[in-house]
Amino acid sequence: MSILEYNGAAIIGMAGKNCVGIASDNRLGAQIQTVATDFKKVFSMDDKLYVGLAGLASDVQTMHNLLKFRQNLYELREERSVSPKVFSNLLSSLLYEKRFGPYFIEPVVAGLDEKNEPFLSAMDLIGAPSYHEDFVVSGTATANMLGMCETLYKPDMEPEELFETLSQALLASVDRDSLSGWGAVVHIVTKDGVITRELKGRQD
């Protein structure tokens, strides 16, 4: 048993034309047993900055609180909002600080930068980042999600089409993974605001 696979998760971040989408499943399990079907893994740090945390649920919630604390401190001292790139670097530093006793999470950062250009990054549990222009995935169904995204993705999608693509990619991926699923939440972020939709998929 791998600790990163104890609770189960599936998260995708995808870029469109001047917009980003980030989606996650709703399941919280204790290995094979499902414990909750409304467990939040994607958090809004700001209007145009979202972070998705896949992995051990306890660390997901702890890291969310820690990120809120550190983001707050940044905004008080700098007197401006934190940008997605800087936030991603902050997250990476926080994870590496615990290099020899890490947080068991594999996060995904999705946002719009100051010029409203999409920003996506993903990292491993000790903070090694990777930056992508198209999509990033994390969780227990990464093989499925990578396959679906690679097939369905095309560049410069408008928000409505991005929503469709992101939703289909996620829903199809979690069906072949017993540890993730039970519906999904999808956020589409544009410069004018965010639209959040809940998907009802196979409830198993």
Partner: protein, 275 residues
């Protein structure tokens, strides 16, 4: 006589005084004035912006008002360098409390933490005290809006209205006469915050609203500053109120908004003069 007992912060004088702390308080009495006023729907803090040179680059946001957390802010009088350390301490404390309890820190606890930090410099280590006095303004769900004042000794107290910095005695005496109004006077006068009978300690005090408090704050600054030289660039007005969602809103008034308040105060004093 005090000379022998004033070079160490950690030694009492024979009269039972800590001279270093008193000297620190003197340093603050030369700094730009800050006035804080508790209103029924918020808090107002106004400060004198001292421009020591025309060549100085203008401050990006403020050099007097600092946000400590979503629900608290402070005004500074004294050594800015010392203040920066304490402000960072306060921000860390508020952040850590909220990280631990997932709840905003009660204001008095935040003030007490900063004050305990200051107190350590009057008892241990042989280091000098911080030359800063603060006005803390904050909101919590237990006690609503609160205003606190703290000084270099680490002592703090809650106030309905108070002044720190240069000419604070003149400011305080004006507030004593003009802050709040008595219960039976609520119907009279457009500005409920004008009359107060002294000595009737059991009469309930009516707090002014934020607009009245802003005008009163400007009046105080007019008195403590060189009255002929007051202008919107020399005054900074700050207010803290609750928005419709129950969250705190911190507002530093713009130059135009400040001018509006100052003009309304001038009109009031002129009208009062005519009577």
């Amino acid at each position: 006589m005090a000379r022998r007992y004033d070079s160490s912060t950690t030694t009492f004088s024979p009269e039972g005084r800590l001279h270093q702390v008193e000297y620190a308080i003197e340093a603050i009495n030369n700094a730009g004035t800050c006035v804080g006023i508790l209103a029924k729907d918020g808090i107002v803090m106004a400060s004198e912006k001292r421009v020591t040179s025309g060549l100085l680059a203008p401050a990006k946001t403020s050099e007097k008002t600092y946000k400590l957390s979503q629900h608290s802010a402070c005004n500074v009088a004294g050594l800015t360098a010392d203040a920066n350390i304490l402000i960072d301490q306060a921000r860390l404390r508020a952040g850590r409390y909220e990280y631990q309890y997932c709840e905003p820190i009660p204001i008095e606890q935040l003030v007490e933490h900063v004050c305990n930090y200051k107190q350590a410099y009057t008892q241990y280590g042989g280091l000098r005290p911080f030359g800063v006095a603060f006005l803390f303004a904050g909101y919590d769900e237990h006690y609503g809006f609160q205003l606190y004042q703290s000084d270099p000794s680490g002592n703090y107290s809650g106030w309905k209205a108070t002044v720190i910095g240069a000419n604070n005695q003149a400011g305080k005496s004006l507030l004593k006469n003009e802050y709040g109004s008595q219960e039976e006077d609520t119907e009279e006068g457009k500005d409920g915050g004008e009359e107060m009978k002294t000595g009737d300690a059991d009469k309930k005090l009516i707090l002014p609203d934020v607009q009245e408090a802003l005008r009163l704050a400007v009046k105080v600054l007019n008195k403590t500053m060189d009255a002929t030289a007051t202008s919107p660039d020399k005054m900074e007005l700050f207010s803290m109120t609750l928005d419709t969602n129950g969250n705190c809103k911190h507002t530093i008034l713009s130059s135009d908004e400040t001018k509006e308040v100052m003009d309304s105060v001038d009109a009031e004093t002129a009208a009062a003069g005519d009577m």
